[in-house]
């Protein structure tokens, strides 16, 4: 009897202890350390230095897997990264970068000045496959002073060099692994690739060789959801914790009114344009391009396709920049003028092929553009294409399009318009001269004035129809903190993100 009582008591004590243990784990539960981020587009590969222009490559890899000498922070300012500091010679032609010394690539290879030289030489070389070669155009030579110091000599002064080296395209890779970075990226960042299930998701896990502060998240999944409806359901169901670049602006009100979610609307560098193929007659005639620009009502597109989320732009420049000038009046909505100009140019029965990539803003804007051009007598054949097709046949290759619509999300990317063989086929002699002047200028006031001239040049040449600046819309679980509001570069800074306790 007594014995049994003792046994019972012991049993209940154990139970009590167990219950206590359970309670304490719930009460003091550490914040979650896994995060699922939804993005609309899957990166085509994971090498930002050779892999093409797709922004999704940088969205996933920049600052997470790879680092550059510098980095662009959430406000668009230049911060040190692999370089701790840099000195500029008085003539502005020599930059000496002092590198971190304890950094290793994720395969264990130590990082040194040789990697910087090798990467930058490859990026600017004749065989470069960099999507943004113009970033490195001013570099005359890269010299290793010692393993922790690199000297970059320019052919002409370029005040933007530290900024340019902070792009996701300018990250430093190891020569040893450069060939395989497309599928197995080896960088210096806090994360490495876990798994990549094509067309579904990829995961990033902590880099065991990372010397810096361990990030709060130990498993990050990027889930690719291109369909706006599916994206919205995934957020609602909690399948993704964060959706960056949320593609359904019509549904934001519903998330705003739900206390379980936070909706962050910031600015991006995304000039959304309707590109016109300047090489296809009659679009080679600037008067015809101007006429078409006058047929497009920006307000209709922003309200109709973007539900008001977007800022009208009149040139290839983001409104948030200090050098911005509002040039929307040059191509104001004026269908009568548009008709008149088309008639004056002798254009009748014009039929244009509008290749629409799967981006939500483009698909939603296409019916409006089609109808507005129909109103001035221009027939538009809307052809929806997939990204691979768009990249291969519109952005590159045959430039097989008359009109297309896309958002250019990199900062200061106006110079790209002047690249030979860039998809709008814009005759850019005047622009290139201005860009050269800009690069040769170190005086900030003069830089601003040249940047304004550049905007005017692009606007007056109607190189494209500049429609709106794409807002950076993020919908997230209310407990996720550290998300960037603005998107100065396509980047997801995972080290800054954590869950609230």
């Amino acid at each position: 009897m007594r014995l049994q009582g003792k046994a019972n008591m012991r049993k209940s004590l154990i139970l009590l202890a167990l219950a206590g243990a359970l309670l304490s784990t719930t009460a003091f539960a550490a914040p979650r350390t896994d995060l699922t981020i939804g993005i609309q587009l899957e990166p085509t590969n994971l090498d930002p230095t050779t892999g093409g222009a797709a922004a999704a490559i940088r969205t996933v890899t920049n600052l997470n897997v790879f680092n550059g000498l510098t980095r662009i922070d959430k406000d668009g300012a230049v911060q040190p990264d692999l370089a701790t500091s840099w000195d500029i010679s008085p003539d502005g032609l020599t930059y000496t970068f002092h590198l971190k010394t304890d950094v290793k690539f994720s395969d264990g290879t130590p990082f040194s000045a040789d990697d910087v030289k090798w990467t930058l030489d490859r990026d600017r070389g004749a065989d470069s496959k960099s999507a943004q070669k113009q970033l490195f155009a001013a570099i005359a030579s890269v010299d290793v002073v010692d393993p922790a110091t690199v000297k970059i000599t320019l052919s002409q002064p370029q005040g933007d060099l530290p900024y340019n080296l902070g792009w996701g395209d300018a990250v430093i890779v190891s020569q040893k692994t450069a060939e395989t970075n497309v599928t197995n990226p080896i960088g210096t960042g806090p994360y490495i690739l876990g798994e990549w299930v094509k067309a579904d998701h990829l995961t990033l896990v902590p880099n065991p060789n990372y010397a810096g502060t361990k990030p709060a998240l130990d498993k990050v999944t990027f889930k690719f959801i291109s369909d706006p409806t599916a994206a919205s359901s995934a957020v609602q169901a909690g399948d993704v914790d964060v959706f960056s670049g949320f593609p359904a602006p019509e549904l934001l009100e519903q998330f705003k009114s739900n206390p379980d979610f936070q909706v962050i609307v910031g600015s991006s560098q995304g000039e959304t344009i309707v590109a016109m193929n300047n090489a296809h007659p009659p679009l080679d005639n600037v008067k015809v391009r101007e006429a078409i620009a006058h047929a497009i009502d920006r307000k209709a597109i922003i309200d109709g396709a973007q539900f008001g989320y977007g800022t009208p732009i009149g040139s290839f420049y983001p409104p948030g920049d200090p050098a911005y000038v509002d040039l929307t009046d040059l191509s104001n909505y004026d269908p009568a003028k548009s008709k008149q100009m088309l008639a004056d140019a002798g254009v009748t029965d014009l039929t244009l092929t509008f290749k629409v990539p799967p981006a939500a803003y483009a698909r939603a804007s296409a019916p409006i553009i089609q109808q507005e051009l129909a109103d001035v007598g221009v027939k538009v054949n809307v052809v929806n294409v997939e990204w691979a097709d768009w990249i291969a046949n519109v952005f590159q290759g045959a430039y097989d399009y008359d009109l297309t619509m896309v958002s250019h999300v990199e900062a200061n990317d106006f110079a790209a318009f002047g690249k030979p063989g860039y998809y709008p086929n814009y005759k850019a002699d005047a622009l290139n001269k201005l860009v050269a002047d800009l690069n040769a200028t170190t005086d900030p006031a003069k830089q601003i004035s040249i940047k304004q001239d550049i905007q005017k040049q692009l606007a007056n040449d109607f190189a494209a129809i500049y429609v709106f600046e794409l807002p950076n819309i993020t919908v997230a679980n209310k407990d996720v903190q550290g998300l960037w509001v603005n998107a100065p570069q396509p980047t997801t800074d995972l080290s800054a993100i954590s869950w609230k306790e």
Binding site: P228, T229, S232, A248, E250, L251, E253, Q254, K299, A300, D303, G304, A364, A366, P367, I368, Q370, Q371, E372, A374, N381, V382, N384
Partner: protein, 292 residues
Amino acid sequence: MAEISIVPIEAPRGTLLSAALRSPSFVTGAIVTAIFVGVALLSFVWTPYDYAALDIPHKLRGLSGEHWFGTDQYGRDVFSQVIVGARTSIAVALIAVGLGVGIGTPLGLWAAAKRDTIFDELIMRANDLVFAFPALLIAILITSVAGPSATNAVIAIGIFNIPVFARLSRAAALSLWARDFILAARVAGKGRARISIEHILPNILNTLVVQITIQFSLGILAEAALAYVGLGAQPPTPSWGKMLADSQTLVGLAPHLAIIPGLCIVFTVLGLNLMGDGLRDIFDPRLQRSRQ
């Protein structure tokens, strides 16, 4: 298809009409179908608004006297789009079924006339081959190779209608070939082709008519499905399937955008099926007898 029995004897005309009017499903189906066809025809001469005209300040309005079915995300009048969409649906389905009947029936009749020869085998195995693929898959294949357009949707839907009518005609014709009146015609010296046209075809017509109504409703569904995945009529030509696809993210904000084209599809298909059911009852004396 299997439940349709093949009866060669045509009922006298007067009885047919009165039988039809006594069949509630035929009458209901015919009225619903007539409404949709009427509205589609009306859209050629009149729509309340230009179906493609944008009016973005008045987007996503609900049902009202001004816009009977409200407006869509671009401020376009939904009623105008629905009635022009009816035109698209009906035209695509009609031509596609026409293709199926026009090609399938002669093939089936020929196969039956040349029963157990190499022609019969060739035609029927080719039919099996087309039949082996799910209809929508063929449609997607054709439209993605040839490019999305209403014409290609017609061809795609038409192609999968061919084996349906070929098989039906062959099966119906085969049972007739064994009948005495065909034997009499053969004894009289008529050729197989002539017998097929003069004696077989008139006697399988009612079977074909029933199948046509059913295929017609399937054609409307197929058109909507193709348009939904973006392979049907291209914008700005409205189409019910396209309207459904476009309304997806807006269901919470403006449910009428999804409900209205959805109901149109449901009612048209329902109407056609009821009509087909009614016709089958009327044409099938055995069913009539069992009802009496």
